[in-house]
């Protein structure tokens, strides 16, 4: 479902970007798409893992 969604959005947007010769935009899009896919897979596989906020607070030495 996740892969399908990202693939569908990518197909739609990349087609229009190729037409407009927006190659930098395509690279930026691909990077964000890969990050989204990675985060999506991580979220689906480990929904009850330690949250991002805990990592941020720990990184800045803030006690929670």
């Amino acid at each position: 479902m996740l892969t399908l969604l990202i693939a569908a959005v990518s197909a739609f947007e990349i087609t229009s970007m190729v037409k407009g010769k927006q190659f930098r935009e395509i690279v930026a899009f691909a990077v964000i798409a890969l990050l989204s896919l990675g985060m999506g897979v991580y979220y689906i596989l480990t929904p009850h893992e330690k949250s991002l906020i805990i990592y941020i607070l720990e990184f800045f030495g803030i006690h929670f």
Partner: protein, 362 residues
């Protein structure tokens, strides 16, 4: 240079700022201020709005020299390309974090206030679909939509305040003495952190017209915000005192639930929830626009419109990974987001002005 049809006026930008302060003000200021200044908490917004006025002056001075530049272009010119780009990356990370945080707050608030036992994904996906659709039409459409939303927001708040007046007890707001000054200053940090969003409207400063009237607009906006935030605090503290306010998650909603006009007109909290949703829509759209503007600047993109949909999907997963419960989010807001907002919204622009003066760039 962008054509005027793709730009908004400084007045519209300021109106967007007023709308985006609504949601965090309701959520954060009453509890934060009541914990630090107790019954004098209602005075805390005055200090913040004075600082906001000064921030307006800082931007006015910066924009005298940089007429058609964005915040990132100004920083790059003042500090040099590398340092400016590093600061822009920090702003980008901050915008990404705030986007995810506000998406999550929006859903959690709806579930907590009126739809318990409902999956937050339903609200998040619905909101993000509408945000994606709207943002494709560009910033001017968002600004015009906001011009319609804000009067409703102000009217709803004003009517609710009028209906709360019978419940307000003045003894809950006193005593206030000289010994209240320090606690009020400490309490004002919360509202200052929210008013720091004023700086973020200049992330798309190259798409804002007539910036020569920043000073005038910020003066009017500061007066409005002083009145609105003080009345807002009075309505909460006056209804059930600081002891309840500092322990309640959504004190304004609880205060609104107390409203009863001659036992006929009751259960008006649905008005608050509906204006919340509208304000959340504007705030989420605003931070997505900011993040994409910075990304466009850093990567020298011609157009960021094709990135909207994928960035929204990215934000969805980020907001889901961000927190496991509301307490983590509140801790992040209190201990991390407020100081971060103040640094990025107040301190860095002031430092930039100083550096600009020293380097004779401003």
């Amino acid at each position: 240079m962008l054509s005027d049809s793709r730009k908004i006026s400084i007045r519209q930008a300021v109106l967007i700022f007023l709308t985006i302060t609504f949601t965090p003000s309701i959520r954060l200021i009453p509890t934060y201020a009541a914990q630090r200044a107790k019954q004098a908490a209602w005075l805390s917004p005055i200090i913040s709005t004075v600082l906001l006025l000064l921030l307006g002056l800082v931007w006015q001075v910066l924009y005298k020299r940089y007429k058609d530049c964005s915040l990132m272009e100004i920083y790059c010119d003042i500090t040099g390309s590398i340092a400016g780009r590093i600061i822009a990356v920090i702003y980008l990370l901050w915008m990404i974090l705030l986007t995810a945080l506000y998406i999550r707050y929006f859903a959690i608030r709806l579930v907590g206030a009126i739809y318990p036992n409902t999956s937050i994904s339903i609200f998040i996906i619905s909101m993000l679909v509408i945000v994606t659709y709207t943002l494709r039409f560009g910033l001017p459409v968002l600004a015009r939509f906001n011009e319609v939303v804000l009067p409703f927001l102000v009217l709803a708040f004003f009517l609710l305040f009028l209906m709360m007046i019978p419940n307000i007890k003045t003894e809950m707001l006193t005593p206030v003495s000289l010994r209240s000054i320090l606690p009020v200053v400490r309490a004002s940090v919360g509202s200052t952190g929210i008013l720091a969003y004023f700086t973020f409207i200049f992330i798309f400063g190259n798409r804002i017209n007539n910036k020569e009237s920043i000073k005038k607009s910020s003066a009017e906006m500061s007066m409005f915000l002083t009145a609105a935030l003080v009345l807002f605090q009075i309505s909460i503290l006056g209804t059930f005192g600081y002891r309840v306010a500092q322990r309640t998650q959504l004190p304004f909603l609880v205060a609104v639930k107390q409203i009863s006009v001659m036992n006929i007109f009751e259960k008006v909290e649905s008005i608050v929830v509906s204006v919340w949703v509208l304000s959340d829509f504007v705030i989420i759209s605003f931070f997505i626009t900011c993040a994409l503007s910075i990304l466009g600047f850093l990567l020298k993109l011609r157009d960021t419109k094709p990135l909207i949909s994928i960035y929204v999907i990215f934000s969805y997963f980020l907001c889901m990974l961000l927190a496991n419960n509301v307490f983590e989010m509140e801790k992040l807001s209190d201990a991390f987001a407020i100081p971060g907002n103040i640094i990025l919204g107040f301190v860095i622009p002031a430092v930039m002005l100083l550096v600009g003066k020293i380097r004779r760039k401003v």
